[in-house]
């Protein structure tokens, strides 16, 4: 097992009198797929928002490769390589698919004002490389023929895949997917599963996942964290979670 890449401990998030997340901890190792599950309203997305800097956690620590990142602004955390998708897809709808991917590479492009104005060779080279990288990923998510279609006009499953590709454009160290299979049909879910497999095996991606589709979660996760009503309930391999009576109770109610 490699070293932990993302390590959160004692994470709390308080909204006024409501303690939405209470003492949640999780560890993601490099090249692992870790899933976070729990009933609706358990606080999974809140944990995501804390990890990615959209909320400032009330207490707790988050270490990215040993460096504390809690309390940083969202774009700063993203620049450190923690990049997420959203539960309801957030693409730049009016822009084309390929433009979506180019925007995400902003940090890796030549953004010098004058070199862009005069199209210097360095600028052209950086734009060309960005195009090639975007093309590569469009192919990986099977959207190449839709490159110049506005992202908002793509089918839902395609939008989901484009959002994942867009995250990969930022060269993330850890990819966080918030319910990527929500609203997908069984075939699309299968494709998604294959895509996550490709991400891990071919691109050495580390993935943290929120998902309700148990079949998907059980088949691709190395490790699962269960949250119920903001508190950690269980933590272990898929087999351990499957047989855990507490988890079954939280999901199915008491017999």
């Amino acid at each position: 097992m490699s070293r932990p890449l993302l390590q959160a401990s004692g994470l709390c998030m308080r909204f006024g009198g409501l303690l939405a997340v209470n003492g949640v901890g999780l560890t993601v190792h490099e090249k692992q797929v870790v899933s976070m599950i729990g009933p609706n309203g358990a606080g999974k997305t809140t944990v995501f928002n804390c990890l990615t800097g959209f909320y400032k956690p009330s207490s707790g620590t988050i270490l990215l490769d040993g460096e504390p990142i809690q309390g940083l602004a969202g774009h700063e955390i993203a620049r450190k390589g923690v990049v997420r998708t959203f539960q309801n897809v957030r693409l730049f709808k009016e822009m084309t698919a390929v433009e979506n991917l180019l925007v995400a590479q902003h940090r890796h492009l030549n953004t010098n004002f004058l070199s862009g104005l005069f199209k210097t060779p360095a600028y052209r080279k950086s734009e060309r490389e960005a195009m090639e990288y975007a093309e590569h990923w469009l192919e990986a998510v099977d959207l190449k023929e839709f490159a110049n279609r506005p992202a908002g006009t793509l089918a839902y499953g395609q939008q989901r895949r484009l959002e994942i590709a867009r995250c990969m454009m930022t060269r993330p160290r850890i990819l966080m997917l918030d319910e990527p299979a929500a609203g997908l049909n069984p075939k699309e879910t299968e494709d998604l599963k294959a895509l996550i497999g490709v991400l891990r095996n071919e691109h050495n991606a580390t993935v943290l996942l929120i998902e309700h589709d148990m079949k998907l979660v059980m088949s691709i996760s190395d490790h699962i964290v269960v949250i119920n009503q903001g508190t950690p309930l269980a933590d272990g391999t898929p087999e351990q979670i499957r047989d855990n009576p507490e988890v079954i109770k939280a999901y199915l109610g008491e017999a």
Binding site: G74, L91, H106, N148
Partner: protein, 420 residues
Amino acid sequence: MTRNLKSALFSAVLVLAVAYPILGLKLDIVGINLVVVGASTTTVLVIFAAAFLMFLRVLFNEQISAMWRSRPQKPLMSDKTSNFLTLPSTQRWFLGALVIAALVWPFFGSRGAVDIATLILIYVMLGLGLNIVVGLAGLLDLGYVGFYAVGAYTYALLQHYFGFGFWICLPLAGLASATFGFLLGFPVLRLRGDYLAIVTLGFGEIIRLFLRNLTDITGGPNGISNIEKPTLFGLSFERKAAEGMQTFHEYFGLPYNSINKVIFLYLIALLLALLALFVINRLLRMPIGRAWEALREDEIACRALGLNPTIIKLSAFTLGAAFAGFAGSFFAARQGLITPESFTFLESAIILAIVVLGGMGSQLGVILAAVVMILLPELLREFSEYRMLGFGALMVLMMIWRPQGFLPMQRPVMKLKGER
């Protein structure tokens, strides 16, 4: 039917009640007394005819709307024409032709026409600048005229107090406006939509009122006059040059003609507008241009991808303001006199109307809309009382028939390497 009849009668009476006191009665002065006189019989007849038409319209409301619906729906122009007109390649050709025409015609045009064309070019510049902020970054800025004022006053003040020439002041004015754009961008970073519009509206007015009340320096409501016109490498276009200067017509041994000055100003405006066009065109395709559009589409997604929304917003405000500064300093040079009243909210509204009419984010659209918005009022001078009514009607009609603007922006098509 009785209900229809009732509401029809009510509508007709309402028309009479509103129209008669406003249009049917007139105040007249007889000696020293004010008396009310009835309007001419034709006016009264027209009012009654209008009331009767209203009566019929409401009475047969259902039949009329059914007729309207059954008529085949035909958009203003077919999708194909619309697509062709907004294609980038079409627009490039069109733009090229436009530029050549713009370069040649002033030498044959009349003085008045060239003057109006100069004014149009100023608005083209303003429209292109505001397009960055509103069309691309999606930040509704109703105080854009404030930056225009800053640019104009920068040149006027530097010229008035320090005797700086136009060409030195042009970049300085852009810089000053950009600084203001940057500073005013800070407080509105967190605002969006309506709130942003209201705050920027306030900023525009504050700048104007500030200039108006700073009487010691800006001359208050009287403004600053005798602002020098631009020179051509030190050659003045006046009849008599100031001391130590030479005039254009003396240098080239031509007879003095005041139209030379007008054409020269026009050409400067054209140069500035083309420069703005070029720079903004490049910006659009640059990472920063894409980031502006991404910000307009979804700020949260921008943040999640590591784009700093603060920098993107501020850069949009700053660059947009800089173009207003260039336009402002040229405006001051052309007018020779500026007062705070040149920079009222109405100007902001006209510039915004140009952007919206032209089609958000579209360059050629903005140029076209600037021509329409400035030329129409000039052509229809007799009807100037109805100018605002006309603008309003134009806006409403546009929103119904072509809400995306004359020539909306089309997404650039990126060539993929592996494509045939």
